[in-house]
Symmetry: C2
Subunit: 149 residues, 2 copies
DNA sequence: GCGATCCAGTTGCAAAATGAAACCAGTTTA
DNA sequence: TAAACTGGTTTCATTTTGCAACTGGATCGC
């Protein structure tokens, strides 16, 4: 049971998020969780990940409060891994990856997917940081303000 | 010169993005690049990363078209690592990480930062996937449509 | 009820990635 | 021109990953 080591304290939010979520398997597990997967075996089959690594990542995600274990919804004695609210709040991050990739990681002509609103069937808008009144902000338009404790 | 291995072909955009950017150091390098860092030594000092790993990541980011090497802006014979448009397009991803962490990775009472619009001094709005007419979408409100090639 | 199968891991081991430190060749500074 | 700085590369030890075999409880078929 040697589990992968906890990273040290980080003041920067991006660093803290990265310490938890900047891992290939973790983001794919969360993606699959958004797609409704819940069981160890479902994740394993979907990802082709080694079982020990999957066990490690699932436990880490549970430890960090992104997933929670609950009795399987099919009534069996097994467990489901389900997103917590904190885990669901990663939706924008996953969508961010998706939209960036769709725009920049596919050759033109290569088949690519699109995120669609279920209710209307219309494509989801490209996400971007913006002001409260809707102006889109680029990297130069914003800076980080450290708040006093 | 053994460089870290290229991941295999991925159909899912999230997986493709993760293969490149779901790496602790790569996201921190890009974050620092958004903050204006450009030189090998600047990144090394800011991140405390081992030099060989930094060299590897910088080259990978250049290879994938996120950074580009250009003659140093200070006129010296050295090189700058600068974000390309493809790299700048990662802004929403980095902001996504930041906003998620600020909301879910800091104890209440713990000092945390905030993203501010430079021009108005007002906080940047929380990013979320939404429709073209501005309704916010949760994980259940959207699905992926595979487009025909 | 009982053997076969399935599920969710764990263990052992080899290969790969990471990290620290020393080293090095060009560049700039004094 | 010597000293220091920059941007790496090399070496080596430690950590993480990945594969495959193993395990033990749950479930299924009969």
């Amino acid at each position: 049971m040697p589990r992968t080591k906890k990273p040290p304290y980080q003041a920067c939010p991006v660093a803290r998020a990265a310490a938890i979520m900047a891992d290939r398997w973790s983001v794919l597990i969360v993606r699959d969780a958004f797609d409704g997967l819940r069981r160890f075996g479902e994740f394993q089959k979907s990802l082709g990940i080694a079982r020990n690594i999957l066990a490690d990542r699932l436990h880490t995600l549970v430890e960090t409060g992104i997933l929670t274990m609950e009795p399987a919804s099919d009534g069996s004695a097994y467990q489901d891994y389900v997103l917590t609210p904190k885990g669901e709040a990663l939706f924008p991050v996953v969508v961010g990856f998706r939209q960036w990739a769709e725009q920049h990681l596919f050759q033109s002509g290569e088949p690519h997917s699109q995120l669609i609103e279920r209710k209307t069937g219309r494509p989801v808008r490209k996400m971007a940081p913006s002001t409260r009144d809707g102006r889109v902000l680029g990297p130069q338009d914003a800076f980080v303000r450290k708040l006093p404790s």
